[in-house]
């Protein structure tokens, strides 16, 4: 990657981090959503053990809704603050895409690192293969974040209501959610981890990165 583009991406990433830390409310909502879901389910289970596939599904559903709460804000906050024009004029679309996308990925990954230990303790789950589990989390959150950023930009470009984001997000994210759930379930159940699913996640991430990079200019600029 060209050094100056890297600097532009880093600037967007740092700006996102600063503003996000200073406007805590949106991420507190995401964290509280995750905590509420966890507490409710663990209290209702009353010591029962969830089947690995069900436990894995629930973990990824929590992450999916966390993404929905966060991704929708990505460009809406810029529009609300009146800073979109500044972003469109003063820098490259690729820096916006990757700066925002990578920030969302890091945020989701950090969020999952906060949620997962609580989840494992409250649900009484043991992870058999930590490397595979962490790789799944990393690949899954990255792919979800890139897809979320692209779709959020699409909503902004099409000037449609953010409610459509959740509708579009499901079919776009299913190809990564399914292998991520299967892999997580294998890690929870202590079964052999199928490498092909990890390859599938890596392929999704690569395709989503490339597609987002190619499509973003059309969404970001009118010409």
């Amino acid at each position: 990657m060209h050094a100056s583009l890297y600097r532009a991406i880093e600037s967007v990433f740092r700006k996102e981090a600063r503003i996000s830390l200073r406007s805590r409310s949106s991420w507190l909502v995401v964290l509280m959503f995750a905590l509420t879901t966890l507490s409710c389910v663990s209290l209702l289970m009353q010591g029962d053990i969830l089947a690995p596939r069900l436990a894995a599904s629930m973990l990824w559903i929590i992450l999916f809704f966390s993404l929905l709460a966060g991704a929708g804000r990505g460009f809406a906050d810029e529009e609300q603050a009146g800073t979109l024009m500044a972003l469109q004029v003063y820098g490259s679309s690729q820096a916006v895409l990757f700066g925002k996308g990578l920030f969302m990925a890091v945020l989701l990954f950090v969020l999952s690192l906060l949620i997962v230990p609580m989840y494992l303790v409250l649900m009484d789950i043991a992870v058999a293969s930590w490397p595979a589990f962490l790789l799944t989390l990393l690949g899954g959150t990255y792919g979800m974040a890139m897809a979320g950023t692209l779709l959020s930009a699409l909503m902004f470009g099409a000037k449609v209501q953010s409610g459509l984001l959740s509708i579009l997000m499901l079919p776009v994210l299913l190809p990564i959610l399914l292998p991520a759930i299967v892999l997580t379930a294998s890690c929870f159940a202590g079964e052999a981890v199928h490498g092909s699913y990890l390859v599938g996640i890596a392929l999704y991430d690569a395709i989503m990165t490339l597609a987002a990079s190619l499509l973003f200019d059309f969404l970001w600029y009118e010409d």
Binding site: A8, I19, S23, T83, V89
Partner: protein, 210 residues
């Protein structure tokens, strides 16, 4: 030197023609004022020049040394100050400048350059230190937008009512900077209804609206 050519440009909104068959040649080293009453299309013209809007007919071409600039190359040379342009409210002046310079891939400012830049736009560093932009007055924000423009090293300046919300000293600073930019070879397109701002221009596009 950079130049901007408007060829037979027409722009309509909801069936209403705002700009009709406008042709103009703008050269680097000049200030061109865009005048006209409210709703005559001054801001629309600047947005088209910034590639934020597309003309319905005609085209706008930027050249440097006779060579047509690519969209990316052109965008990298634009600086914009309009009433719709906003710096980040949850960042300080320094953080905003650092962000825009990094985003623009321009050289970062040293502490001395930062102080000089603030002084140039009439902001005192102790007045803005540690203060988020959301706590700035309207005039201070406008001065910060001008500082971002100056620091961005843009050589195509698109200014929409740049003196609005500024005091006399601020308006005088805007006129001085626009003139200085043109004298340094930059292309300045200045939408205004202020007679004093108009007076610094070398040429004028008068829009009548429709």
């Amino acid at each position: 030197m950079v130049s901007l050519t408007f060829s037979d440009v027409t722009k309509r909104f909801a069936g209403r023609t705002v700009i009709e068959h406008l042709s103009a040649e703008l050269a680097g080293g000049t200030v061109t004022a865009v005048t006209g009453e409210n709703g005559s299309g001054k801001s629309t013209l600047l947005k088209m020049a910034a590639k934020l809007l597309l003309p319905d007919e005609g085209k706008i071409v930027a050249r440097d040394g006779g060579q047509e600039l690519s969209k990316a190359a052109y965008r990298a040379r634009i600086g914009l100050v309009t009433p719709e342009f906003h710096a980040y409210p949850k960042l300080t002046a320094r953080e905003n400048l650092d962000f825009f310079l990094g985003f623009r891939r321009a050289a970062p400012l040293s502490p001395v350059q930062y102080e000089q830049l603030l002084a140039r736009v009439g902001l005192a560093s102790d007045q803005v230190a540690g203060k988020f932009v959301e706590h700035f007055s309207t005039g201070m924000r406008k001065r910060l937008h001008l500082a971002i423009l100056l620091a961005s090293e843009a050589d195509i300046w698109l200014l929409d009512e740049p003196g609005a919300n500024l005091d006399d000293a601020g308006r005088s600073m805007v006129r001085r900077e626009a003139r200085r930019a043109a004298d340094a070879g930059k292309l300045v397109l200045l939408a205004t209804n202020d007679r004093e701002e108009e007076a610094v221009a070398d040429a004028c596009i008068s829009l009548s609206g429709h």
